[in-house]
């Protein structure tokens, strides 16, 4: 960080301090261009100065994101989550398909297949065969498709709204007259025919989605959301049309068109909410559609541009913003030999890079896939809600048929068909889950299975690994004992200079040394380093190695809890350094949080028992075990589970794979290793342990929203269906109630989980008040 006060710009008459030269330049440009009012009208903080690059990255979009035998598919003509379920099942039954996951919120499918057995055309055909369309993912086409969809939806809505308004006007005289005779029979017949004429486009055009959906459900021999609605609307219209043509009976054109309008309005609002929920994921998915590059290509990346693939820097010095992948917003320095990841932004200077992984192989693509897959693994609670929604539609149709047969009243049957709201059961939970995944990703937390969210809320025990999890995995000096006449400062200076010539991991414990001070450095592998500084010969290393120079016995015995190395010269011993694996700075606070949440924390370490004990003592962990093999850890977790505990394992992604898979829910430190390959439910991409508490808190909020939504949907349906069956709710009131119920659930799903955008600086997770369904 630069010294304070170096980057100052006068904004709106007040001097403001900025974090870096980049932001200063941006702010200065804004102010100098006379656009200061941006700071008055903006509602959230800006992105880091990397915005212009997005345009470059989307250039040269390939035809499809198809690499090897995996593809992301856009699904079209999908109407509700039952359709998505059907597509998923269909895809999984195509011979040769290894994996098929459908994301309910983004409406994309992810398919992997065996190239020897099948191909993409066969898979697309399978989807088309059940009445839907699928295209390989393509950002431009996706956008065009969405715009078309939005316009058509709005046009249908308008036709229905205007039709409903007009028809209500023509129906009004008949209501006012009430059969009193002021309205002549001719005039009434005119009104009926006019109503018929205006309801016709509503039925033929605006209702298409409902009828199409019902037809598909019929073809698939199942009953979904659209069948009851289509039956209700169609029945109402036909009965009214018959009354108009024969000149007798009642007409309800006004109710039918109003019903269609309200249903469409609810659906339109639903679509808007869904788009909002998934928008935050877009940049990551856009990376997936990056330029076609092959491994070992050299690419020049201009400043402000996104890296098109994973690779190694060949030339140039710059810094990169990897916040998209890790949530870490500080720029990371990059020079020749450093790794860069696709999707991160080159901030300062042009760089030349060599591609090591491109297309679907990149880390960004892997993360995008994982995020989509996460939503596909739904918590058990959500799965049972979806089953309930499907069962509900059958109940509804049977009830309506019974009402029609026994009471002989078409309108009671129509009201029953329309008032039920199974979509509230099936839709709102996936939206909450998508939002949770996106919010977590913004903090560098990669949720790979949504199911884990549910498990986390029930957790009773947390088992933590030590090396690489509670500690950084890097050694640091924890104490120095002076043994000779040199001062500690001087000893540390000599040690740092000597170690600067070495590449051993221990050398990291002595940073900042200058190797040029050392003459004739010599490295004894596994022993230590020697070298001359100001003419004197020094050795740093194991006791035995130094003794052969100092010619004296080792003055101290090792305590066992720490690694000990010595510094000596020809006259005798100088210092003993105790080295310890450095604790993560946030470790103590995180353990404290977990304990405050009522969780039992265990430490399971592969290190020697005294080392494990020392760490446990420092962090206040009461239950600890050292010298555990991966199998011991797995047994330990299994024992806890056997005792009825729900165990969360936090470990190093690579070494602890078995125990991570065995625990009820697991966190892994990502450490830049292939996040996509890890077996954990949650990957902490930016290695911050603090994210464990954050994930726990967020999972609790998300699950609470899901529970509220399901509870509301169940209560609503349990109340509304009997009322409609009793004839207390008319068809258009039913439509209003159904729409209101859908919207209630959706609005609740979009409520204060956390800011949905990963870049919003203000993390105002305002306390969610108890739900008020008025």
């Amino acid at each position: 960080m630069p010294a304070e006060g170096r980057h100052r710009v006068a904004i709106l008459g007040a001097g403001r301090e900025l974090c870096c030269a980049g932001c200063e330049a941006v702010a200065r440009t804004i102010v100098e261009a006379g656009l200061e009012s941006y700071y008055e009208t903006r509602t959230s903080c800006a992105l880091p100065p990397s915005l212009p690059s997005e345009r470059n990255a989307s250039e040269g979009t390939p035809a499809a994101e198809v690499a090897g035998s995996e593809a992301a598919l856009i699904l079209d003509r999908v109407r509700c989550s039952a359709c998505l379920w059907l597509i998923e099942q269909t895809l999984r039954r195509v011979p040769g398909v290894l994996r098929a996951d459908v994301n309910y919120a983004t409406r994309r499918a992810h398919v992997a297949w065996d190239a020897a057995q099948t191909g993409l055309p066969a898979i697309l055909d399978a989807v088309r065969a059940v009445g839907y369309d699928a295209y390989p993912y393509d950002a431009a086409r996706q956008e065009a498709l969405e715009r078309r969809e939005r316009r058509t939806a709005l046009w249908r809505l308008f036709v229905a709204a205007f039709g409903a308004m007009q028809v209500m006007m023509y129906a009004f005289p008949a209501y006012v007259d009430g059969g009193g005779g002021t309205l002549s029979a001719d005039a009434e017949q005119l009104m009926r025919w006019t109503s018929f004429l205006l309801t016709l486009p509503v039925l033929v055009f605006s209702c298409r989605p409902f009828f199409d959906g019902a037809l598909q459900e019929l073809r698939g021999r199942r009953i979904g959301l659209d069948t009851p609605i289509a039956l209700g609307i169609g029945g109402g219209f036909l009965a009214s049309a018959w009354a108009t043509i024969t000149g007798g009976g009642e007409v309800y054109f006004d109710s039918v068109s109003m019903l269609v309008f309200l249903l469409l309005a609810a659906r339109y609002a639903e679509g808007a909410a869904r788009r909002r929920a998934t928008r935050a994921l877009d940049p990551l998915l856009r990376v997936e559609g990056g330029r076609r590059l092959a491994v070992d290509d050299s690419v020049r990346v201009a400043a402000g541009e996104r890296f098109p693939a994973d690779g190694v820097v060949l030339e140039g010095r710059s810094s990169a913003d990897e916040s998209l992948l890790t949530g870490e917003s500080r720029p990371l320095p990059k020079r020749a030999g450093d790794e860069v990841v696709a999707g991160s932004v080159n901030l300062e200077q042009p760089l030349t890079m060599r591609v090591t992984r491109a297309g679907a192989e990149t880390r960004a693509a892997g993360i995008a896939r994982l995020v989509e897959r996460a939503v596909a693994s739904r918590p058990r609670l959500v799965e049972s809600a979806e089953r309930a929604a499907r069962a509900l539609t059958y109940v509804v149709i049977l009830t309506a048929a019974a009402a029609l047969l026994w009471k002989g009243d078409v309108w009671v049957a129509v009201a029953i068909l329309v008032v039920t709201c199974p979509c509230a059961l099936a839709l709102a939970a996936p939206i909450v889950l998508t939002r949770a995944g996106t919010a977590l990703l913004g903090h560098g937390i990669l949720l790979t299975r949504s199911r884990a969210l549910e498990t986390l809320t029930r957790a009773t025990d947390v088992v933590v690994d030590k090396t690489g999890t509670l500690t950084t995995g890097r050694l640091a000096v924890s104490g120095a004992t002076l043994l000779g006449w040199e001062s500690e400062v001087r000893c540390r200076f000599i040690a740092a200079a000597l170690e600067a010539t070495s590449r051993h991991p221990i050398a990291h414990a002595f940073p900042g040394g200058d190797a040029r001070l050392v003459q004739a450095p010599r490295n004894e592998p596994g022993q230590g380093v020697e070298g001359r500084i100001d003419g004197r010969l020094y050795r740093i290393g194991t006791g035995g190695y130094c003794r052969s120079l100092a010619n004296q016995d080792i003055p101290l015995a090792g305590s066992g809890a720490a690694t000990r190395i010595f510094l000596a010269d020809a006259d005798g011993w100088l210092t003993a350094f105790d080295l310890e694996d450095e604790l993560r700075p946030e470790a103590a606070a995180v353990i404290g949080h977990l304990r405050a949440d009522g969780l039992e924390v265990h430490l399971a370490s592969g290190d020697a028992p005294p080392v494990a004990a020392a760490v446990a003592l420092r962090l206040g962990i009461e239950r600890y075990c050292g010298a555990m093999s991966p199998q011991d850890k797995l047994d330990y977790v299994a024992r806890l589970q056997h005792a009825g505990r729900v165990v969360v394992m936090i470990g190093d992604g690579l070494n602890d794979a078995p125990v991570l898979a065995g625990a009820d829910a697991s966190f892994a430190m990502g450490s830049g290793a292939d996040a996509a390959q890890l077996k954990a439910d949650v990957v902490l991409v930016n290695n911050s342990l603090a994210n464990v508490s954050r994930t726990l808190a967020l999972s609790r909020r998300a699950l609470r929203l899901v529970r509220q939504n399901i509870g509301w949907a169940l209560a609503y349906n349990a109340l509304a269906i009997p009322l409609a069956a009793a004839g207390w709710i008319g068809p258009w009131e039913a439509a209003l109630a159904m729409g209101a119920s859908s919207l209630t659930v959706l609005v609740n799903a979009l409520r204060g989980l956390e800011p949905a955008s990963p870049w919003k600086a203000s993390t105002s997770s305002y306390p969610s008040p108890s739900p008020s369904y008025s």
């Binding site: 009012s37 009208t41 316009r151 205007f162 007009q166 005039a187 006019t194």
Partner: protein, 57 residues
Amino acid sequence: MESLYLLVPLSVALVFVIGWVFWRALEGGQFDDLERPAHDILADDENPVQVQVKRAD
């Protein structure tokens, strides 16, 4: 009452005219971005004479 026989068909014709106008507006892209105009009114026009209305598509 006879006016009904003129006015009711006239209202139907009007509905179709309004429907057509809305359709034109929709296809012209006026409803594609409903958020931007709300922000536009907060910003002062630099040079009102030169402002041109342009549609993205």
